[in-house]
């Protein structure tokens, strides 16, 4: 019993309390879901019908979706978001993993100092580096290109820190045994450490994926042409143009949300783990 207590909820409540709790939880769920439901319903109705609160089933259609796709290059936004998110997720984790390996498994001069220096920068809020990064990207000729959206996000102290913590937990004897067999560090990283860190890599990947897909401020600053927009930036520009075309705005929102929501529902445990991992990282 006591061994299970870490994962088991507390003891059964009495029936009336359970009922009250169930009602409260249902109300809460309704509250959280309402925006999604409204989004879906309004996206399927002509805006006029919604404003008149006319929810007759005959009025439902996909017309808003077609209209939205005609007015807004959503497919282009999708493409941009996908390219940026996939490259950032893969490369950021690769770069962080290599660095974390050095920090956790190799003994080199200046290791602790450099790592402390990395950690100290975690305190710096994003707005401080926003303007210089814009200027740097501009002077490199990357402004309004995919490079601007990808390259500055490839480096992350947080990912490096997380992986380093995990790598430190793997017994060092494994490295030493491999070295005895003549394996190089690169080989140890690729064939010993990475295969052993599957769960943490997957969790981090989902975390980075979700963060990059939803990122707003940087793509807003780093791009200007319609063809370079990511989904959130494109959606925000759409609101700016058609602030009360509710039907189409909601259709656009549904289009923007659908992939993330599908991935979330399929992999919800990984998402929750990712959050808990980041949250409990320091404990």
């Amino acid at each position: 019993m006591s061994q299970n207590s870490a994962v088991q909820p507390q003891q059964q409540l009495r029936l009336p309390a359970r009922l009250a709790l169930q009602v409260a939880l249902l109300l809460g769920a309704l509250l959280m879901l309402t925006p999604f439901l409204v989004m879906l319903v309004v996206s399927l109705l002509p805006t006029q019908a919604f404003l008149a609160r006319d929810f007759a089933p005959s009025g439902f259609s996909l017309a808003n979706y077609f209209a939205t796709f005609e007015q807004v290059p959503f497919l282009r936004y999708y493409l941009n978001s996908t390219i940026v998110t996939v490259s950032v997720t893969l490369l950021q984790i690769l770069i962080a993993s290599l660095a974390a390996f050095a920090f956790a498994r190799l003994r080199f001069r200046g290791r602790e100092t450099l790592f402390l220096f990395y950690l100290a920068t975690l305190m710096i809020p994003f707005p401080v580096t926003l303007i210089p990064n814009f200027l740097i990207v501009k002077s490199l000729g990357w402004y309004d290109t995919l490079w601007a959206l990808i390259v500055p996000s490839l480096f992350s102290v947080f990912s490096t820190f997380l992986l380093r913590q995990y790598y430190r937990g793997i017994p060092i004897d494994l490295d030493e045994a491999a070295r005895m067999d003549g394996a190089s560090s690169l080989r140890i990283w690729a064939q010993v450490i990475v295969p052993l860190s599957g769960p943490v890599l997957a969790t981090l990947a989902i975390f980075v994926f979700q963060g990059t897909w939803n990122e707003f401020l940087w793509p807003l600053v780093a791009t200007t042409s319609e063809n370079m927009r990511t989904i959130p930036v494109g959606l925000a520009a759409f609101v700016g143009q058609y602030s009360t075309a509710w039907g189409q705005l909601m259709a656009g929102s549904v289009i923007a949300l659908l992939p993330v929501l599908i991935i979330y529902v399929l992999g919800q445990n990984w998402f929750v783990k990712g959050i808990t991992l980041s949250g409990m990282g320091g404990r």
């Binding site: 359970r18 660095a99 190799l106 290791r111 920068t121 401080v128 303007i131 210089p132 705005l249 909601m250």
Partner: protein, 310 residues
């Protein structure tokens, strides 16, 4: 083997010459990014904040002039006060709601997985899409006001529909409502993990001593999850200081700057007014405040955070 053991015996910080260059190779990509986009960027930002830097780039070194100009800028004070409003509303409300949700879901109750799925859903959504829906929900003759009007009608209370997005009295609340909807699930998930880590033995012991549910909560649960509360407090404070997308899409910071956040003002100053210097100075003000608050919380935590090892 013998060399390895010897190195290990001397302690973890002993460096090995044969791994020196290898390690640097492993670090090169990471360090390049770190150097350019963090170290160089921070130094540039500091430099710009002490310079005259507008449309044409660097003109002159001006010392503290940008910082002094900010202190005389009424809009800056307005955004500072708006941000304080966001902090004192969002941070405690989010902690409370998240904790309540986590406590409810920590019971043996049907549908826990479903509720967790639903409560966490807003966390993964694009905030822009959330803001768009809330613009509709909170519009003057939108669903929320309709609901409130009906409720008031049933109770016989006079009701005038608040203009959530278009009046300076309510615009900040609109941003707060959106932020709570979006982030409460995050707090819940972190709290839930903490609650599940509270050992059942402690509850059993409290029961033996005749403690009621309230006493168990105050004397067992709350102290044991206080490290999590501390962590969330720090995290949410940093987040609330840096609110951007929510007011940007919901209210555009208006009306009359009534919901403009500091980061939004930094953005507008840098990229609409092209005053990189003033915007950088503002970013450093923000940094100093976040830093000071985090230090302060670290100091205060000794008074209320309970660590098992002590």
């Amino acid at each position: 083997m013998s060399t390895d053991t010897r190195v290990r015996a001397r302690g973890a910080f002993r460096w090995r010459p044969d791994q020196q260059w290898e390690a640097y190779l492993f670090l090169v990509p990471s360090f390049l990014g770190f150097f350019v986009f963090v170290v160089l960027a921070v130094l540039m930002s500091l430099g710009i904040s002490f310079s005259d830097w507008g449309l044409t780039g660097w003109k002159a070194f001006v010392g503290l002039r940008n910082y002094q100009a900010l202190l005389r800028d009424p809009v800056f004070w307005q955004t500072a006060s708006n941000t304080v409003f966001y902090i004192v509303t969002i941070v405690p409300l989010q902690l409370l709601i998240g904790l309540a949700m986590a406590l409810a879901l920590n019971q043996a109750i049907r549908g826990r997985i479903f509720y967790r799925l639903v409560y966490f859903m807003p966390v993964v959504t694009t905030i822009v899409a959330g803001a768009i829906v809330f613009r509709l929900l909170l519009s003057t003759n939108g669903p929320l006001n309709e609901l409130l009007g009906n409720a008031a009608g049933l109770l016989g209370i006079p009701f005038s529909a608040p203009n959530w997005l278009g009046s300076s009295d309510y615009s900040k609340w609109a941003v707060v409502i959106l932020t709570l909807w979006k982030n409460a699930g995050f707090t819940m998930v972190v709290y839930l993990a903490a609650l599940q880590g509270v050992p059942q033995e402690l509850y059993d012991a409290a029961n033996t001593d005749g403690a009621g549910p309230w006493q168990r909560f105050w004397n067992v649960t709350l102290p044991l999850i206080s490290p999590t509360t501390f962590f969330l407090l720090v995290l949410q404070l940093i987040g609330a200081f840096q609110l951007f997308t929510e007011p940007f899409v919901m209210t555009r910071g208006g009306p009359a700057n009534s919901s403009l956040s500091v980061v939004q003002y930094i953005y507008l100053t840098a990229f609409r007014d092209i005053r990189m210097d003033k915007a950088s100075a503002m970013a450093w003000f923000l940094f100093i405040f976040i830093f000071a608050f985090t230090l302060l919380q670290n100091r205060l935590q000794q008074r209320w955070v309970y660590y098992e090892s002590e």
